[in-house]
Symmetry: C4
Subunit: 180 residues, 4 copies
């Protein structure tokens, strides 16, 4: 794994809730539209596996997205994502509701974003992460940037960062016979 | 943001109408065709957000494309693009009609293109922009080139360039808590 | 345009028939399959424009492909490709039939390929071209390689190479106000 | 072809069964989902041609994948893959069954993977291969890495490596008039 500064690992060690934007974070940002107005989406298989491991390691998972699509609901259900907020023009509202419901503080939250609508939430949480190809204002505001772009492994990096910091990565890897 | 020469910012400061080609500019140039002859298209989510901000900042938006597809109509409506010209073999005709309707001069127009059919309009407008992967003749003719390719952020760059030059970028960024 | 050796321009000047493989040459090689076994394909808009110009400049156009798909028939018809051979396990058979029908010699033919099934035809024609990401044996056998990969501009490069060598590029460019 | 160490060629010379993961190995890892929950997949045409040649050269072919999709069944049938195991949470089970049925030892098997679920099988076989963009733990565990990413030529590289080591590549190439 890439070298991660101790300060970031300290923030990641406190994470109990990981929130992800969808378009540009769980996807590469391409909106694939069909002739009847239907929307198709591409998710990366290795990102999905990271989310499953992070969930199994005891972290609560959520997505907050401005768009609305049945494909997102289906994929998030397949991965066992606990909370799925779609059609959120103002992401802070969903964020506040979620923290209240889970009785968590922003210090226990990681948020991964790529563009301006993610910024208000990113400024609140302790571990704000920008994907490698994020908008410049997001890259500047985040405390950590992934080395891979959105939809191409960025989410997997974050999942492993959090598990490593929390001390749960070794157990997940050991399940497959791998060593951290 | 990338450094932009003052001469380009001066041209961009006058823009009241921004016109975009579709295939190769708002998309990466790939025409995705299904078995019944239907066409699917991929648009980038961060380009879309740039267009919405540019529109909200007071610039009129238009697309002029040689092809014709219901997907383009749907996506442009979703983004609130004011004028959508499809099936235009000769783009100058739509361009002239649009300027007459809006009572604008070419000095107030930005056009973003990627290939030869864009050239006649690009030679007319003050701010002609080529996407990073444009045809060589377009790259040569344009007064500015984006650093990202079509369908992968080129349009977002142009939106922010125009807003910055017009002095409206800071307000758009501030809405999300970002600083220019 | 890229520098092209005089020897290649001499071969290209004689071209009266340009033949293209489909998958990996007119596309990026990805076979996109849907749940009912249907096949979707992606073609690049700038490649398409090059083919239209090459046809208008007086060169006969053909594709020879091992696969078979209604999407190919539809796109080739849209571009006005004169001869479309699908489902050709042995491409030499279609090649020989085509040359006999058109009363052309191999010295008047350009063929663009990416993989081993293209090799027998490539060894026959004067101007054999490999796309930038072709199989190593094709890259070695070809007299010229494009700088762009298949489905991403390789075909456009070949179209302009042939037009330039035949002295027809300037007229095509002039139509749009561009200079060679 | 790339230089391959003699030790790898020695392992490859013994291969009588080649097993491939699907997502991330035969594809680029993108799961393309439609609005009715249907899944589309992209396979590379040059990978497909490599698999056909490897099969014709006398090697038994299999895929073992954790997901389940009719598209995989259709494409694998088109390529003549002998054994297709889908929906395998534990890949070792399918692996053990396959070796028992074929009366082969792990020393006669090549496995190509990209992520942790592939690791248990990769640790068993003699020739374990990681695609160029594999997860770091897979890249570390594999005895060989391809130079191309999954879904973009990685499988073709493995097919040619095995054929070269077994002395069957020259005959396959000669069929098309190519020289090894």
């Amino acid at each position: 794994m890439n070298a991660v500064p101790d300060a970031i690992l300290t923030l990641a060690a406190n994470v109990r809730l990981a929130i992800f934007d969808v378009d540009g974070v769980l996807t590469n940002g391409q909106l694939l539209l069909g002739p009847q107005g239907e929307e198709l989406k591409q998710f990366h298989v290795r990102d999905g596996h990271g989310l499953v491991m992070l969930r199994e390691s005891g972290v609560t998972l959520a997505v907050i997205t401005g768009r609305k699509s049945p494909v997102v609901a289906a994929r998030m259900a397949e991965l066992g994502i606990h909370f799925v907020y779609q059609g959120q023009r103002d992401k802070l509202q969903a964020f506040d509701a979620l923290l209240a419901e889970l009785k968590l503080s922003p210090a226990e939250v990681c948020y991964v974003g790529d563009d301006l609508p993610d910024l208000p939430v990113m400024k609140r949480v302790a571990l704000s992460v920008a994907v490698a190809d994020a908008h410049w204002a997001i890259a500047e505001a985040a405390v950590w940037r992934t080395s891979l772009p959105g939809g191409q492994g960025a989410v997997r990096e974050v999942c492993e960062l959090v598990m490593r910091a929390r001390g749960t990565l070794a157990a997940q890897l050991a399940h497959y016979g791998a060593v951290a």
